[in-house]
Symmetry: C3
């Protein structure tokens, strides 16, 4: 039940260590608070282990990576694995530079991720670069649509099988899959792409949801994706004609702040394949 996933976050207040980009970090912190979690940002190698050790989950986002923070990501990720804390990878911009692709691949080689969240392009870049995922073929897709849904569901499950991670491929239709089961989610609005960092925010939320629902990780990740998308729908209805992407950004986070388990159950639009 998504309702229970949401309520477990609100009752346990999972503390999430975010090593994330400086573009959207404030929104990630506020959306974590809005959904019922608690953020701590720390990216210096010397304190990465200490901070991960006191947290319930770790969110690694390579959006503005540099050599120092890449080092912190590796240290924190290994510590999280060692202590069985939830770890999520958001491979922002994998494929856009050699450094990003190689870093994402290195992280996947050295850390066991509970969840990897990205868009189709990023997953394709990972699949090309990463030994374990090489040969996991998304064909010519650059997005998930009704036309290629079967193919993409299989792709997500194959990717999940080869990485032992939950795979969240977000876009017009979102897929959240382990090797056996895939949630196909139809919440959200296209206008969310006009806000920077909705993906980064979602990664933070997923980390909190999975950390607070460790017995039920796949469903928790799917609940988080539905939450973000449904909040995007509610917020869109509340926009006045003269409002734009800044008002929309605020209203989405505010909708998450006010979301109850019952609302999420009613608003979630998905099928399981």
């Amino acid at each position: 039940m998504f309702k229970e996933c949401l309520e477990n976050v609100k009752s346990s207040t999972p503390l999430i260590h975010c090593i994330t980009n400086y573009v959207t970090v404030n929104d990630v912190a506020n959306v974590l608070l809005a959904c019922g979690g608690s953020p701590i940002m720390a990216d210096e190698p010397d304190e990465a282990e200490d901070i991960t050790a006191i947290c319930n989950g770790l969110d690694i986002n390579i959006g503005t990576l540099n050599k120092r923070t890449i080092n912190s990501m590796l240290i924190a990720g290994k510590k999280a694995n060692e202590m069985s804390k939830v770890v999520l990878l958001d491979p922002v911009g994998a494929g856009a530079s050699k450094l990003r692709t190689e870093t994402a691949v290195k992280l996947m080689d050295e850390i066991k991720f509970d969840v990897i969240r990205g868009n189709v392009s990023e997953f394709k870049a990972l699949a090309l670069g990463c030994t374990s995922t090489r040969g996991v073929d998304a064909g010519s897709a650059d997005k998930v649509s009704n036309n290629n849904l079967d193919e993409m569901v299989k792709y997500a499950k194959d990717f999940a099988r080869s990485t032992h991670s939950i795979i969240a491929i977000t876009g017009a239709i979102d897929l959240v899959a382990d090797e056996n089961t895939c949630y196909c989610i139809r919440n959200g609005r296209p206008e969310m792409c006009k806000i920077t960092g909705t993906g980064c925010q979602l990664s933070g939320i997923i980390a909190a949801y999975v950390a607070a629902n460790k017995e039920n990780k796949l469903e928790a990740a799917a609940a988080a994706v539905c939450l973000m998308g449904y909040a995007g729908e509610l917020a869109f209805e509340r926009l006045a004609p003269e409002e734009g992407n800044i008002a929309y950004r605020g209203k989405i986070i505010d909708a998450i702040y006010n979301m109850t388990g019952e609302m999420l159950e009613r608003g979630a639009k998905y099928e399981i394949r």
Copy 2:
């Protein structure tokens, strides 16, 4: 008079050099502008002295410290002391990692701070780590309440005496103390904790208030704490049911923007012990 403290900020526009975390830095800059000050952020060691030299105050916040910026904090802090500029320390997360605690202690050992602002946990971590404050005992407190108010007032005064700093311990009840006098402030709303960075914002405001009221530092710091809390009360009344922490964040800063000396005098709720 808090009124004069506020008006001195608005008339003199103190320029505050902030070496602060990248999570909340935009809010700190905007709240400094809102209260009548002016921000400049600079964290490269090579320019730390130059920037401090042209400013009226320095706000050091260790929220996302790294080795480079720690170096800048030390350089800028010493320069500020040398030139008798106001310096504030916000020891964000002291106690959460060895690096944070040790950095805060090192800063306190090498720099004379006009104000140190944090929560009870952070002060307890400083007291454990720092030679000069070792033995300043907050007992088992993890917050200031009516039950332990006498004890905590004494703690704040003792801490102020041993560090020669104004001590601002913020929480449900805020304490602003020098060695002889303690303002016990009851402004604010618990919902302010659901916004990232209200503490960082307050530190920036205190730096501006103290820099603009150098003959009257303790009262200026207390006025700043009342300002933030009272703005939190005004903003809360203006929230619509569907609004959440993002709307609240904006409305608090906007309330600070529109605050007059008379409003602050009327809204401030404190006693002096």
Copy 3:
């Protein structure tokens, strides 16, 4: 026609590589999306070339420069020149520290900028420091006004001639000049100075406008300046009495989001000298 400049941005979605300060980076990203462009932030030397290579323009802003990012600015700028991509310099705080002035000058020596955008003080610091601009004299001006408009128009054109760049000097009256032609723009509101980063935002927008209008760079830069200023006017009219700089910041970006070519044509207030 400004209308066409705006529509070219919306139809071509220029991707802008921003190496910019962490204070205002989120607003820069969102305003780029609002105006019809697309942002990518990347400041690690190892990926600077790769990212510039896939973009349509590069926005270099020294607001929170450090040694690592200065290196990235140089690498990315040279790559942009090599590939004939649009490059803009925003010399934030030139004059405030030796490092900033010297870095801006070094960038101007090693990179050919399509546009340089700053305020009068920053341009005067550049003129003092930079061989090619030494002797370009703004007299005693610290702002552009009706009293010194002729002098400042000549200054902007001289600066443009000596640097082979479009010069955008923003203030109460904005000047956008190449060596022959100067747009004198009277859009905007003084209250925009109470928001951190309106200058940084404008630099991002100019980069997008010029990148999408490469045959018509001067007019595109002027259109971008009018866009920002006119959005500032529209947003100001929409402010409620209890609103302040945070509401204003959001409403400006939202006004940019909803701006059409026709609106911009109607609202732009400028003369050409």
